[in-house]
């Protein structure tokens, strides 16, 4: 054992000196990162904790794996080879909303799906951010006049970034994500306000003709979403 030890004894002082010297003289750049240069010799960075957290959030985003319609095909292309969204620190799709902090809404939202989407959104932990991909999430897009189509994701959940296009090109999505990162780093996000379509208990709806008709079928405490098509944009 002891002989073993001996063979591994190294002149530690010499090694360390070499490294330190090379760093100080600038022969070996590996140790002088841009950051260190910017902050001088002090190994400490002073920043506001909030600011730091925002920077961290923006630089490592976990996306929710969430496909709805045609736009999700372009979204897949953005995640995969060639466009590779991961380069920008935003390419790990998570299958569960509980692990995700960004949701890309890639497609048309229809009446049957909106309550589900709201539920998925609610399940994501704070802070969370929403990217609306495609015209459909802006206004209903080509299907704006459809009897069953929600006129944009904003009707249901707050959206931070809208990416126009039908579908937006992967480049556009990458640009949108980059913009989102910028916003997050600046500590901005869309305010959470009451949306036109919210989940509420059936019993709380103001009584009208439709409510009366459905009162047999739906329990008082079932969650419902009431669409008021006449007033939607």
């Amino acid at each position: 054992m002891s002989s073993d030890k001996d063979t591994f004894v190294a002149d530690t002082t010499r090694v360390q000196t070499e490294t330190r010297d090379s760093r100080i003289t600038g022969q070996d750049n590996r140790f002088n990162s841009k950051l260190r240069e910017a902050f001088g010799s002090s190994p400490f960075i002073l920043t506001k904790f909030d600011k730091f957290m925002n920077w961290v959030r923006g630089s490592s985003m976990f996306m929710l794996q969430f496909g709805i319609a045609c736009c999700s095909i372009e979204m897949m292309h953005t995640y995969a080879v060639k466009h590779d969204l991961d380069r920008f620190g935003a390419g790990v799709p998570r299958a569960s909303p509980r692990q995700a902090d960004v949701i890309i809404v890639p497609g048309t939202i229809v009446s049957k799906f909106a309550p589900r989407m709201k539920r998925v959104y609610d399940q994501m932990p704070e802070p969370k951010f929403v990217v609306g991909m495609g015209s459909c999430t802006i206004s209903g897009g080509p299907f704006q006049e459809g009897y069953n189509v929600i006129k944009g994701a904003e009707e249901v959940i707050p959206v931070d970034i809208h990416i126009p296009g039908c579908p937006p090109r992967p480049e556009a999505l990458v640009y949108g994500i980059a913009k989102l990162q910028e916003r997050i780093a600046n500590g901005e996000s869309s305010p959470v306000v009451v949306k036109p379509y919210e989940l509420e208990q059936f019993g709380d709806l103001p009584r009208d003709e439709v409510v009366d008709k459905l009162s047999e079928e739906i329990n008082e405490d079932d969650l419902v979403m009431r669409y008021n098509w006449a007033d939607s944009p």
Binding site: C70, I73, H77, R119, G146, N148
Partner: protein, 575 residues
């Protein structure tokens, strides 16, 4: 159409006429009158004789394929049209028209004759409001169950508020969700009778898959009942992407406003859909398509088919092997190549809108040689790429263990459920509309229909991979033709009027072979420049219906693999 040589057309018409008389004899008194549909003879029958007539047509005249059920409301009546075909000769068509009164729109169900009518009639009930008597389970299929009114009926008020519930789906851990308890009874009426008995006396569990779930390829909800780990029954719950495509098409003008929507039906392989619309409208309004444009169409469509099949193979591997694996990346890589080529051709990566009525929108991009070279490079590399797929997927022992003999769909079941496309061809049904109901330039080219008779998940994969090869063959021939085409004869569009107004009350149903199966379009005109009724028959819708017979008795992972092997696109299922 324009390309079929006149002699054949003549012959077809003759045969058609005698066939029509034969059918008239078969139906006898039951045929109240004849209707003139452009595509096929049509017989009007009484609403209480539907099964009787359809049984005869199926068993005695050989119409084993219910392609589509179109429901519509007129000013004075409701009407359901059953579009029948034969698997061995899809050109032999007949339509059965069932009018019902306005006050009491009840008509006998066709479900005992063709299983596929189950879903079609539910859709007709949901959107138009016809009641099918004797239907085992007449509920809404696309719209939420609490919806008020039938949106494609004439007096539907779109501004009326609607309420949609977010009910807790059954919680599998709760005692009362055992099928023997009370909670599950709520949905046990949806379970096929045999399964209920099984479920009642064993320890079953109810499992929701979706509507937001990575394995469902979009927004599909599978209500699954398990016995241990085996699937006892599965019921797809669709409509989470019902975007009112038919309403949109009925609002759009024939000339420019319908084809762009068709790109959004089956959005992984868009190009073939455009042809479905173009074919139907061209038939309706008697438009010619120049030969050169037909070659361009054929070539572009085959690229479109490749897009669909690459994605299907990639996601299938994803379903079987797990998260973003190499194969998925390879598939996307090859899709990118095809998208690049098509972007050069059409100007778009995805929503091409390359077809125009009477032709296509652009000629090949200049300089042509450069583009040809690009395509040839792609085609030259394709065999080695396909070899890679075979090495990684079809030759792989693990995948074979997972897929061979799993998800069986016997030939007769496939026919009953109206399966088409690769799903049908993997069950040994040798039907491909490109060959059997030729359109475009297909019958001039040399290619084969890929058929397998394994009936399992593995065969469906093989069919797709072989079809990619065949598509490449077709494209290569088209490229050669285009290259030598004399410059002065390169007409890309025939002379088509700016506004198209087909004659009042003309009806047609035309289908093409899309990547997922038969994509059919029914149009009825009313003399204006927009269709009075536009019905879409999507292969995915019927193929998804086969999921239950395919996966009963399988394990959950095999259910997921079976779903992947069906290659559904929800935009096309829900429309």
């Amino acid at each position: 159409m324009s390309l079929e040589d006149p002699e054949k057309e003549q012959q077809g018409a003759l045969e058609g006429r005698s066939r029509e008389d034969e059918l008239a004899d078969l139906l006898g008194e039951r045929a109240l009158s004849r209707d003139d549909h452009k595509n096929a003879p049509a017989f009007v029958i009484r609403p209480d004789e539907v099964q009787d007539v359809l049984f005869d047509l199926r068993d005695q005249a050989g119409y084993d394929f219910l392609s589509c059920v179109t429901a519509q409301e007129y000013e004075d009546r409701y009407e359901s049209i059953y579009h029948l075909k034969r698997y061995d000769n899809p050109m032999d068509e007949v339509s059965v028209v069932v009018p019902t009164s306005k006050q009491n729109p009840v008509s006998q169900t066709a479900e005992p004759v063709y299983k596929t009518a189950d879903w079609h009639e539910r859709e007709a009930y949901d959107l138009v409001g016809i009641d099918y008597e004797g239907h085992p389970d007449l509920r809404r299929i696309l719209l939420p169950e609490t919806w008020q009114g039938h949106p494609l009926s004439l007096d539907y008020d779109q501004d009326r508020p609607q309420i949609v519930t977010l009910r807790e789906h059954a919680n599998p851990l709760e005692e009362d969700q055992r099928a023997s308890g009370t909670g599950a009874n709520a949905h046990s009426n949806t379970v096929e009778s045999g399964a209920v008995d099984d479920a009642a006396d064993s320890d079953t569990m109810y499992l929701n898959i979706g509507p937001h779930h990575p394995a469902t390829h979009g927004v599909l909800h599978l209500k699954t009942i398990l016995d241990g780990e085996q699937v006892v029954d599965v019921e797809p719950d669709i409509g989470y992407l019902h975007r009112c495509e038919e309403q949109m098409a009925q609002q759009g003008t024939y000339r420019y406003q319908i084809i762009p929507y068709s790109d959004r039906w089956d959005y992984t392989a868009n190009m073939p859909n455009e042809w479905a619309v173009a074919r139907a409208i061209e038939d309706l309004a008697d438009l010619e398509v120049p030969e050169y444009a037909q070659v361009l169409r054929t070539m572009a469509t085959e690229f479109g088919r490749m897009l669909g099949h690459f994605l299907a193979v990639g996601t299938f591997a994803l379903d079987v092997y797990g998260d973003f694996t190499a194969i998925f990346m390879y598939a996307i890589r090859d899709r990118e190549k095809v998208q690049n080529i098509l972007e050069d051709l059409t100007g778009q990566r995805m929503m091409f809108y390359y077809f125009r009525l009477g032709g296509v929108v652009w000629d090949l991009p200049e300089p042509r040689e450069e583009w040809f070279e690009k395509v040839r490079d792609f085609l030259d590399e394709l065999p080695s790429a396909l070899e890679e797929y075979h090495d990684l997927i079809s030759q792989n022992e693990i995948l074979q263990l997972r897929t061979v003999g799993k998800g069986m769909l016997p030939k007769e079941t496939a026919k009953q459920y109206g399966a088409t496309g690769p799903v049908a061809r993997a069950s040994g049904i040798d039907m491909d509309l490109r060959r059997d109901d030729p359109y475009g330039y297909y019958d001039e080219l040399d290619w084969d229909v890929a058929v397998e008779d394994g009936c399992d998940n593995y065969s469906r994969l093989l069919v797709r991979l072989r079809e990619v090869e065949e598509s490449a063959k077709i494209i290569r021939q088209c490229i050669d033709l285009l290259e030598d085409w004399p410059e002065e004869e390169r007409t890309i569009q025939s002379n088509v009027p700016r506004t198209i107004r087909p004659d009042d009350d003309t009806e047609t149903y035309k289908a093409v072979e899309a990547a997922k199966g038969e994509m059919g379009v029914y149009i009825r005109s009313d003399g204006t420049d927009t269709p009075a009724r536009f019905k879409i028959r999507a292969g995915c819708f019927n193929n998804l219906h086969t999921l239950a017979p395919m996966s009963n008795g399988e394990y959950i992972p095999d259910l997921v693999a079976a779903l992947g092997s069906l290659d559904i696109v929800l935009g096309s299922v829900d429309r």
